[in-house]
């Protein structure tokens, strides 16, 4: 019997799934079982293209789920919008889970019908940057890569010839490669806002590399695991005190790193220089609207205040579109980084958003996407 709060270690019973999975295939097996036993109608999974690329798909085929890729660091896409209007089970980085909850707050997702299997995340990378990095820093042909993992602060790539090479992440990031900006200053590494929080931190001893640590966060998490156990797809055992402690230690180290890097990335700007800084940053915007399209927290349709009251004809010094987005997201931006990823003018939109969102959220002691019952502060009816 599984209970809320349980700290477990488990793996897929199917040897192939267990081997192919990043660490034990538990998540894949749980998602497959959810579909099999009718807990959900569809599952969101990542379809493998190559070691650097995968695309999200929605499937009702158990075999497709079982064949899906394990976790890849080079896939930064946010999956929340795939759950809108559907009854799905999905894997979720902490930022995916945050976005799901924010969409639920806005009536777009019914949490009762959405099963979120959270994945620990140390950060993701851009596939194109990663390939370039392989050539320039690792001296490896991207075609030769058969696997990757992050361990003890190093990004390690395994090649066809059986070798592997690891370089410290800080070294990569100093050189301009490595994780996306927003991932570097992110401090939510374990998805405690999902139904299950899974990952390989805390998997030690014989099971290292072939089992998944799983923390049961709520009743839906219990249902997911029990369902998978009944379906014979997984086996679980309680995690040892040592394992739990190690997981906590890794998390603390990652969170501390995130806090440190926040100071380096969101550099202080002197008061007098601010307006010019923002004017300069926004100057290249071509009004494509991609950042709004891709934002996983935004619930608005095509027409909303940011678009309807913005017009190039107005010849304003600053973009009304961006001002409205900065305001409307200051309580809810989860710094997932999608907007920076898609901007054709290379405007670091996530960093701009975070400059407003992080102080606004801290001041109000509010973190978006953690609890569906918390009202976003902008919609409070009284000042707290």
């Amino acid at each position: 019997m599984v209970a809320v709060g349980d700290m477990l270690v488990g793996y897929a019973t199917d040897g192939g799934v267990r081997k192919r999975g990043a660490s034990g295939g538990l998540v894949t097996a749980v998602l497959a079982a959810a579909l099999e036993k009718g807990l959900v109608e569809n599952v969101v999974v990542m379809k493998h293209i190559n070691e650097f690329e995968a695309v999200p798909i929605i499937t009702d085929d158990v075999e497709v789920v079982l064949a899906s890729t394990g976790s890849l660091h080079s896939v930064p896409v946010n999956l929340a919008k795939y759950a809108v209007g559907r009854k799905v089970a999905m894997p979720a980085k902490p930022c995916d889970a945050q976005a799901v909850i924010e969409q639920a707050k806005r009536g777009m997702i019914d949490l009762d019908n959405t099963y979120v299997v959270g994945l620990n995340c140390g950060g993701s990378m851009h596939p194109v940057t990663t390939k370039k990095m392989l050539v320039e820093m690792y001296d490896i042909d991207p075609e030769d890569v058969i696997g990757e993992e992050i361990e003890k602060g190093k990004l390690i790539f395994k090649t066809k010839d059986g070798n592997e090479k690891g370089i410290a992440i800080d070294e990569l990031e100093e050189a301009g490669f490595g994780r996306r900006d927003s991932c570097r200053y992110c401090t939510i590494k374990i998805p405690v806002n999902a139904d299950l929080a899974c990952g390989n931190w805390g998997v030690i001893g014989d099971l290292a590399g072939s089992a998944t640590f799983c923390q049961v966060m709520n009743d839906k998490g219990v249902r997911l695991l029990e369902n998978a156990i009944e379906a014979g797809r997984i086996e679980v055992q309680p995690a040892s005190e040592k394992a739990i402690a190690i997981r906590e230690k890794v998390n603390t180290a990652m969170v501390n790193l995130g806090n440190t890097l926040e100071g380096k990335i969101l550099t202080e700007i002197p008061d007098e220089a601010r307006i010019q800084y923002y004017l300069d940053q926004m100057a290249n915007c071509i009004d494509c609207g991609a950042c709004k399209e891709v934002c996983p927290v935004c619930a608005c349709g095509e027409d909303s205040k940011c678009t309807m009251f913005h017009s190039l004809v107005d010849d304003y010094s600053m973009s009304m579109y961006h001002l409205v987005r900065l305001l409307h997201l200051s309580d809810s931006c989860i710094a997932c980084g999608q907007c920076s990823d898609v901007c054709p003018s290379d405007i670091p939109i996530t960093i701009l958003q975070s400059r407003f969102a992080i102080p606004a959220q801290r001041k109000r002691e509010y973190t978006p996407g953690m609890n569906v019952d918390e009202t976003p502060p902008f919609f409070e009816v009284i000042l707290k």
Partner: protein, 142 residues
Amino acid sequence: MVEKEWEPKIVAFCCNWCSYGGADTAGMGRFQQPASTRVIRVMCSGRIDPLHVFNAFLEGADAVLVTGCHIGDCHYVNGNEKTEVRYKFLEDMLQQLGLEPERLHLNWISASEGERFAHFIRDVTAKVKELGPSPLKPAGVS
């Protein structure tokens, strides 16, 4: 020819029941004020959308005033409490943006507080005159 001294242009959003009334009372009491301010009437300060404030600045306002009833006196029960919530976001944002804080004000003024309204206008106008034109003002707008 003597160039006329630059005078700030201030947009004031006033709620129909209290602060607009306060502006009226200032007029009835003949409390003289600089001609800097343009009042825009709304039924409740809660109607004031930060969007309108941005617009005012982008169109060329040197300062924007958000005014309404004292807390507890709102004609619509608690509209001004919501204004306060939104205003705090606006204030934080414009501060982050680098706009001088003297350019944005929130003031609760009742319909009977004519003199207070006049003082407020004189005060803000003087401060903003010292600061100069808003950095967000489009070219060609006075």
